[in-house]
């Protein structure tokens, strides 16, 4: 493990839910996400009342959250976002469940779980490569 000062790189291994590669800045929450009703598929913004990411956009991000919740229609919402160009580029979960897994598979969004998500902070540059997650921090002043 590296500390969080200066430039550093950390690699973690999880379980593939949907294979593939993706890389971008992370958007991280410790709260579960419901795509049906909780995310606006047109803008990619999180709209769930009282969610700590409310108002933030998941578009093109590596979205990091513990698990999914809510209606199974959420799988179709994720698919709709992919078609609209508002979906996350990749998904990292602590423990994936049916709605997110099915959504990621039908939308071709790389998805990996069994990752210690407490080690990733919003703004970290994150790469998903099948079961591998590489976290890179190049933010100045940290």
């Amino acid at each position: 493990m590296c500390g969080r000062g200066g430039d550093w790189k950390m690699e973690m291994k999880g379980r593939i839910i949907m294979k593939g590669k993706a890389e971008n800045l992370a958007l991280v929450t410790s709260q579960p996400i419901s795509f049906y009703g909780g995310v606006d598929p047109l803008s990619g913004q999180i709209i769930e009342k009282d969610h700590e990411l409310k108002g933030k956009s998941v578009k093109d991000k590596i979205l990091v959250f513990p698990t999914g919740k809510g209606s199974t229609v959420g799988s179709y919402t994720l698919y709709r976002m992919k078609k609209n160009g508002t979906s996350p580029a990749g998904i990292i979960n602590k423990e994936c469940e049916t709605v997110i897994a099915v959504g990621a598979i039908i939308s071709d969004i790389p998805c990996v779980d069994f990752i210690d998500i407490s080690k990733i902070k919003s703004g970290d540059k994150v790469q998903i490569n099948n079961e591998k997650v590489i976290v890179m921090n190049s933010r100045k002043g940290e």
Partner: protein, 398 residues
């Protein structure tokens, strides 16, 4: 998870796009929930049919799957967002109807029977005791596990479709006998007199039993319609999709009565009604049939409506499957109900039709129906079939 050579070939894409996607879904779910293999299923029930819930994205996905996806086992369909024939009479817009028809067309192309009902077990998709199936639609899942004794997890629309295209489902959860053991004794000390009382009981047990499997004692007699209503309610309000009723449902003789218990008194049932019911007297919509009405329920509605007239300010809907309505046509019930001003809403229901903004209040026999009507911003009243018919005739809840 172990895959046979044939399954591996499906996963590689040798059997086309839809089978490949389906295998990806089944394998991912199997891995998440610790399945060691796939098992064959006898039938599938697919939910996620209403355009109201699917939107254009869901429609696009289904159209993509329909290109080469064909079901391998008996597969029936959940209610759509409208009556596929009589939609105009029920106030559905031209635009909605157009999109809904495209959804149905995609399912038809896949080889699915367009039954459009949440009660597949009433219209020919009736599994046997112990049979593995892959059903979505929580009320039907609960009925199948509990009243029939078939084995299914609570699937979502896409995972049910995946099972239909492959003919298999991952072997985990309620497919395993070890996960079907009841672990809470629910002692019913209350008198349950009509259909909606069983909806109220489902509300109480759903809330109290949390994530446990109820073993219900104290119920001496209950008919299929009440079990249908109870199955819908108990799962809507939080229970696992399986229960046992002593000496009534299959498997109840196999298990010991669990040590932990919860006692349900008359006051709990009364309290459930007070949570489900809003303060409202003018009723704009009466809807009976959540889950879809059986022919026996339709017969009772017809008997109560004979020579009566529905209040001109109130819509009165009987939600059922098209095939059950055909029996009603033959017997003359349909004529009686329509003569009184009632309407049939086949292929659809109050939970999935686009009703938001159309009615301020609804009366129904169904606790689940009330739950979804609140999502549609309606004030709700739950009562017996007789109370609902009276509300239709007078336009008021008494």
């Amino acid at each position: 998870m172990y895959l046979t050579r044939e399954e591996e070939s499906m996963l590689r894409g040798d059997k086309g796009f839809s089978v490949k996607k389906s295998m990806e879904i089944l394998v991912a779910l199997g891995n998440i929930y610790g399945a060691d293999k796939l098992i064959e299923v006898g039938s599938v029930q697919v939910s996620g049919v209403s355009y109201h819930n699917l939107g254009d994205a869901g429609l696009a996905f289904l159209e993509e799957l329909a290109k080469d996806g064909r079901v391998r086992v008996l597969t029936t369909l959940n209610p759509a967002g409208m009556d596929l024939e009589n939609w105009k009479n029920l106030g559905i817009s031209e635009d909605f109807a157009k999109k809904q028809r495209l959804v149905i067309k995609a399912f038809e192309k896949m080889g699915i029977i367009v039954s459009c009902t949440c009660t597949p077990y009433l219209i020919g998709n009736l599994p046997r005791y112990g049979e593995h199936i892959a059903w979505s639609e929580s009320s039907a899942v609960t009925f199948a596990n509990s009243v029939i004794g078939a084995k299914t997890n609570r699937e979502g629309g896409p995972s049910a479709l995946a099972a239909a295209f492959v003919g298999k489902t991952p072997y985990y959860g309620l497919h395993l006998d070890e996960n079907r053991i009841p672990d809470i004794n629910i002692i019913v000390n209350a008198k349950l007199k009509n259909l909606s009382d069983f909806g109220a009981l489902g509300y109480v047990i759903g809330k109290k039993a949390e994530n446990k499997i109820p073993y219900i004692t104290g119920i001496k007699e209950v008919d299929l319609d009440r079990l249908k209503s109870f199955s819908a309610s108990v799962v809507t309000f939080g229970s696992k999709p399986i229960y046992y009723i002593q000496n009534i449902t299959p498997g109840s003789e196999k298990y010991r009565i669990p040590k932990d218990n919860i006692i349900i008194e008359q006051s709990d049932i009364k309290e459930a009604y007070s949570h489900i019911n809003d303060t409202v007297s003018e009723i704009e919509l009466v809807c009976i049939g959540c889950p879809h009405c059986s022919i026996k329920e339709i017969a009772e509605i017809a008997r109560l409506l004979e020579n009566k007239k529905i209040c001109p300010n109130t819509e009165f809907w009987v939600a059922s499957s098209r095939s059950t309505k055909q029996l009603s046509d033959i017997r003359g019930y349909t004529k009686i109900i329509e003569k009184a001003g009632g309407k049939f809403a086949c292929d659809t229901c109050m939970a999935v039709a686009p009703l938001k903004g159309r009615f301020k209040s609804v009366a129904t026999t169904s606790a689940k129906g009330c739950y979804y009507s609140r999502h549609n911003k309606m004030l709700t009243k739950m009562g017996s079939i007789k109370q609902c018919v009276d509300a239709g005739v007078t336009g008021k809840w008494k």
